[in-house]
Each structure stands twice: as structure tokens, then as C-alpha cells.
């Protein structure tokens, strides 16, 4: 018995090449998002942002990474053995793994070989995503706990409560889409949006998913896990150097993953509106452009909204988001049944 049916797969060497390409793309996107965030936050606050390193500050992420990697690998004496080193690795691995299922395009003929422009097309797309999201939480939890610091521990505890609360809503928000599309494969969901992107019929699902996505990635206004003002950086307080860089990398990659999922599930993936059918090589750029827009929304919201209080976070998650997501799923289910007959 297999765990999941893979929709389409190629020869092993193509898969290896694809894995390398996707990882390389993801690795290049992270510094771009990092720089974009700092530049845009600057603009939102009527300043320039980094503009000293390289032309227009373009080499700032590189300088950041060089600075972090040349630092001492400090470990507090209260930290717990290898867990302290393992936690950032979990974070980064799950983020990269989740990136694998985001489809950048349909199956294309590249030099006569059909290649799907995605890591893997599993028949359990969203479940795979949530599975890795749940494991990613261990990165934060273990990191905060094994640091042996109060602040880190508080951040980790908040992270645990937050992720549990919002994962439910996030899952339920996707249920509506899955009902409508009738498939769990992400490429299948994109193809089902041929007539109309799901952002229109599943508008509430879109909003709920987006808000829960902010919470899942620990971004403002749900960045209680880090909460620099109260927790001195939360779960990563005791981290420095390369390990901190891994956490940082994972955080931004998670933003990209959520942008990718929003793009795929609600914004029609590689499809363009008004019946435009560009050649296949345009598809990845369409997806990247849409991901850029969603990422811009992430940064925009971060520049706008203040951090929620802990009780506000909980009451918002359980009293507003979860009922809304449930209602959305219910109404969608009823409508699907009614219109199917």
C-alpha cells in the first residue's frame, strides 16, 4: 500500500535535476525577498532602507549572510545537547520540502522530454503541506526549549499554541477549494481554475487562508513567537551565526511557500485571465510574479498592523477565523452537492 499516488513522474535523473533546480530557485528567491522586505519596509516608513552595499543596496543580503556565517557558533551552557543544533535544521528542511510541491507550470516538453515544472505532483498536496507545516513547528518548539532560556521557552510555547490554533482554520479554508476542484493534487487544483480563479468563489476561504498563513509563518501581526519587544526575539534568542541564519532562511522560505500555495490554490497558479494562453516557458514567470504579489502583501501587512496581544490572538483564531472557515466549508459543500445534480 502506498502512502500517496504520484500524479506524474519522470526518470530518476530528471527528478534529481529538478530537485537541484527547484532548490537553487528557492535559494535565490530568499535573499531577494529579504532585500525586498527591508527596502519596502523602509519605503513604508519614508526612508530608503539598505542602500550602501552594492548598487541600491543589492548586495545587502550577501553581506548579512557573510556576517552571520563568520560569527562564532555560540551555544549557551544551559542548552540541551544536539537538539539545539538540530532544531534549525528541522526548520530549514521542512521549509525546503514544502517548496517541492508548488507547481510552477504544467508538464512541458524540454528538448523532447516531458518534464513537470514542479518538484513532485502528489495526490495529497495540501496534506503533504500540512504535514511538513506540523513538523516545521518542531523546529521552533525544540529550538525554544533546548535553548534553556526563559524567553526562548515562552516564544516556543506561544508558537505551539498559535500554530495549533491557526492550522485548523488553514486546513478548513482549503477544504472549500478541494470540494470545488474535486482533487487534492495541486496541479489538478490549478487546472480546475481554468474558468475562474478560486479567489472569487472561495473569497472567504482565501481571506481565512491568508490570515492563517500570516500566523503559520509567524509574521506580523502574528509574530508573537518572536515578539522582539517582549521576548527579545523569542525562540531564536539564544541563536547566533549560522544557526540563526538557518532560522532566518526558513522563515523567509516559509513566506515563499505560503505565497506559492496561495498562488496555486486561489490565484490560478500559472493560468492567466482573459483567455490568454502564453507558451509553456512563460508559466514559471507567471507563478513567480503572482508569488511576488502575495509576498508584497505579506510585507505590506507587516508594515501596517501592530502585533496582537496573546488573548486577542487566541480569540481571533478560535472565535472568528475557525467559525468562518467552517461556515465556508459547509456552504461550499452544500452548493457543490446542489449544483452537482
Amino acid at each position: 500500500m502506498s502512502l500517496a499516488i504520484v500524479g506524474y513522474y519522470e526518470a530518476w535523473w530528471i527528478q534529481i535535476v529538478k530537485a537541484i533546480v527547484i532548490f537553487a530557485v528557492g535559494l535565490q528567491l530568499v535573499p531577494i525577498v529579504l532585500l525586498a522586505e527591508r527596502k519596502l519596509l523602509g519605503r513604508f516608513q519614508a526612508r530608503y532602507g539598505p542602500n550602501r552595499v552594492g548598487p541600491y543596496g543589492a548586495l545587502q543580503p550577501l553581506a548579512d549572510i557573510v556576517k552571520l556565517l563568520t560569527k562564532e557558533q555560540f551555544r549557551p551552557s544551559t542548552s540541551t545537547g544536539f537538539l539545539f543544533a538540530l532544531a534549525p535544521t528541522i526548520s530549514i528542511m521542512t521549509a525546503v520540502a514544502a517548496f517541492a510541491i508548488i507547481p510552477f507550470g504544467n508538464v512541458q516538453n524540454i528538448f523532447g522530454t516531458p518534464v513537470g515544472l514542479y518538484g513532485i505532483d502528489v495526490s495529497i498536496g495540501p496534506l503533504y503541506l500540512f504535514a511538513f507545516g506540523a513538523v516545521a513547528f518542531y523546529g521552533i518548539m525544540l529550538g525554544g526549549w533546548s535553548s534553556g532560556s526563559k524567553y526562548s521557552f515562552l516564544g516556543a510555547m506561544r508558537g505551539a499554541a498559535q500554530l495549533i490554533s491557526y492550522e485548523v482554520s488553514q486546513g478548513l479554508a482549503l477544504v472549500g477549494v478541494i470540494f470545488t476542484a474535486g482533487t487534492l493534487s495541486l496541479t489538478g487544483i490549478v487546472q480546475a481554475q481554468q474558468g475562474m480563479w478560486y479567489v472569487v468563489p472561495q473569497f472567504f476561504g482565501f481571506i481565512v487562508f491568508l490570515v492563517a498563513g500570516f500566523a503559520e509563518t509567524n509574521r506580523a501581526p502574528f509574530d508573537l513567537v518572536e515578539a522582539d519587544a517582549e521576548l527579545v526575539g523569542g525562540y531564536n534568542t539564544e541563536y547566533g551565526g549560522g544557526r540563526f541564519a538557518s532560522y532566518y532562511f526558513a522563515e523567509y522560505l516559509n513566506v515563499l511557500v505560503v505565497s506559492g500555495v496561495v498562488t496555486t490554490v486561489f490565484l490560478g497558479g500559472w493560468l492567466l485571465p482573459f483567455g490568454i494562453h502564453p507558451p509553456g516557458w512563460v508559466d514559471p514567470f507567471v507563478v513567480l510574479a503572482k508569488m511576488g504579489l502575495v509576498t508584497f502583501l505579506f510585507i505590506w501587512v507587516r508594515a501596517t498592523l501592530p502585533r496582537l496581544r496573546y488573548d486577542q490572538l487566541m480569540s481571533f483564531g478560535w472565535k472568528i477565523l475557525l467559525p468562518l472557515a467552517t461556515l465556508n466549508a459547509l456552504v461550499t459543500a452544500v452548493l457543490v452537492v446542489v449544483t452537482h445534480k
Binding site: R43, F44, A46, R47, W300, T304
Partner: protein
């Protein structure tokens, strides 16, 4: 027996709390308004002054680093070493050691001159009292405000440094600007 607060009690009137639907709508509307505001800010030009390249212009009466002056026609120093500036200085950062002018070497216009004139700029609070106290307008406050240095001893400015024509590094702002 409970304590009777008497007339100290103030009745506070509050508006009724908004209902669930209304407060949700209000939160959503306010969020959108906030997003609109920040987006507007993003389109504006940044107010940053890129400091080492662009400098903040100062007003003509700005109190920067001190200058000592000479008479323009004779080239003699205006300072006569009276130590009134040192007496007026609240931070006690001026040190003056006076000496007599001789007919062979005439340094200042008066009888005496400042053989040593030092201002410890790491102590100076730029109040300008020295300028006010000086009977000969020998010391004035300049416009230079870039005085950071690597060691404290480098911040003790001697008479030669204060007399030297300072590099005019600071842009001047007009009075009405």
C-alpha cells in the same frame, strides 16, 4: 462595614460595546484603512538625508566648534588672555595661560596674549557663554559640528587649531528657511 466613598465617586459614561458583527466589520474596515495609509506612505519620497554625502544645513547662529579670530588688517590675535571665557565656562573646558607681549614679539593687540589656549571639546557643552563673555569678540562659535575622533586627547583643540581657518564643511541655512 464597607467604606463609603461619598462624593469622590465619579460616574463614567461609556458607549455600549459594539456587537460581534459590528466589531468585526469595524476591525476589518480599520485594517483596510491602515493598509491604505501605509501604501500611500510608500509612494511618497523618503525624507532621509543621506548624511555623509548630504549634510543638515545649520542656521547662521548655530553654535558649533569655536573659532579664535585675528585682526584682519594687522594679523594680530584678538585674544588678550584675560581668561574671562574660562571663568564663564560652566563645563570648565577652557584653559588659558597668559603671557606678556614684548616689543620684539607682539602676538596680540593688547598688553598680554594667550600663550596657551586650549578647549577640551569632549567636555564642551556648546552653550556659547565664552562667546558672550569675551570683551574683544576673540572667540566665536563656528558652524562645524563634525568633531568625532578616535581618542579623547585629539579633542583638546589648541590655539593653532582654533585660529586656523576651519574647513567650511557645513552648509548654511538662510535665516527664514
Amino acid at each position: 462595614m464597607t467604606w463609603d466613598p461619598g462624593k469622590d465617586v465619579i460616574q463614567v459614561m461609556r458607549t455600549p460595546p459594539p456587537g460581534a458583527a459590528r466589531s468585526t466589520y469595524r476591525a476589518f474596515g480599520e485594517t483596510l484603512r491602515g493598509l491604505k495609509t501605509t501604501f500611500g506612505r510608500m509612494l511618497e519620497k523618503p525624507v532621509t538625508l543621506e548624511y555623509p554625502e548630504e549634510k543638515t544645513p545649520v542656521y547662521p547662529r548655530f553654535r558649533g566648534r569655536h573659532k579664535l579670530h585675528r585682526f584682519e588688517d594687522t594679523g594680530l590675535e584678538k585674544c588678550v588672555g584675560c581668561s574671562l571665557c574660562a571663568a564663564a565656562c560652566p563645563a570648565d573646558c577652557i584653559r588659558v595661560v597668559a603671557a606678556e607681549n614684548t616689543p620684539e614679539t607682539k602676538v596680540s593687540a593688547g598688553e598680554r596674549y594667550a600663550a596657551v589656549y586650549e578647549i577640551n571639546l569632549s567636555r564642551c557643552i556648546f552653550c556659547g557663554y565664552c562667546e558672550v563673555a569675551c570683551p574683544f569678540d576673540a572667540i566665536t562659535m563656528g558652524h562645524d559640528y563634525e568633531m568625532s575622533d578616535y581618542s579623547r586627547s585629539d579633542l583638546i583643540f589648541t590655539k593653532e587649531m582654533l585660529l586656523a581657518e576651519p574647513l567650511e564643511r557645513t552648509p548654511l541655512r538662510r535665516e527664514g528657511e
